[in-house]
Symmetry: C2
Subunit: 122 residues, 2 copies
DNA sequence: CCTTGACTTGGAGTCGACTCCAAGTGTTAG
DNA sequence: CTAACACTTGGAGTCGACTCCAAGTCAAGG
């Protein structure tokens, strides 16, 4: 699959896909005879993983480090696990903050709802 | 309370507090005779609100709009409510994405855990 | 009196993460 | 044969949100 197809399928711009590859967020993608990227199944799964991690706010820098470890093989499994555990922890904290904010928003929305009703009753 | 105190109490840098005021994210804070900011209770509650909203990723721009509406009084209540409902919706979506990522991280961490154990058993 | 340190301003700089651009090459449709 | 179009590269530009800087003012302690 060429870059435009991947871009459409995952909703990531071609520029961003090239950027990801350039900075090492995914390993180099194979090229056809004209030098054009030809994404295989593994590449696509990688893009999906990256998309998922990025959507949750994991920093590009951390993901680069993780991907580099994957490339170095089984001896890096412990290090990779530590990275994921750390990021999982940070993610859980962010989600807690967001939950707190969500609750406050719900309170405020309800308060505004009541204010609107009271106004209408006048 | 002076800016340094607020900064310490809320974990927001003095620069950021001034920035928030400059762009209209909070209304101008009163000054003492020497022109130094003197935050009152209301100002502090505003900072706390902003801190909470920002920690959940609500854009500064949206908050500026919201604060401007608050300044314009009761006739803007409906508009404010709409903003909060919209942001609440976006927040819920982001949280869902994060939950999905969290689940995947948990799966991966568990898989790594098993891989580590298998290795040790050799 | 004078230094120290917290504050003031306007404006410039930084950072993460893209996003866009110019110039060039290769494949395809008419 | 040529025009259109998808792709390539390296590098520059943008955006949101701060963060830092220079130059100046003021209150308090030694």
């Amino acid at each position: 699959m060429k870059i435009a197809g991947v871009s459409e399928q995952y909703g990531i711009s071609a520029d961003t896909l090239r950027y990801y590859e350039r900075v090492g967020l995914i390993p180099p993608v194979n090229r056809n005879d004209s030098g054009i990227r030809d994404y295989n199944e593994l590449d696509l799964r990688r893009e999906e993983f990256i998309k998922c991690m990025r959507s949750a706010g994991l920093p590009v820098e951390v993901l680069i480090e993780y991907v580099a470890l994957v490339q170095r093989g089984d001896k890096t499994i412990e290090a990779r696990k530590e990275i994921l555990i750390e990021q999982r922890k940070l993610l859980a904290v962010r989600m807690q903050e967001m939950q707190k904010t969500l609750d406050i928003l719900d309170h405020k929305i309800e308060a505004y709802e009541n204010a609107v009703l009271k106004k209408r009753r006048k």
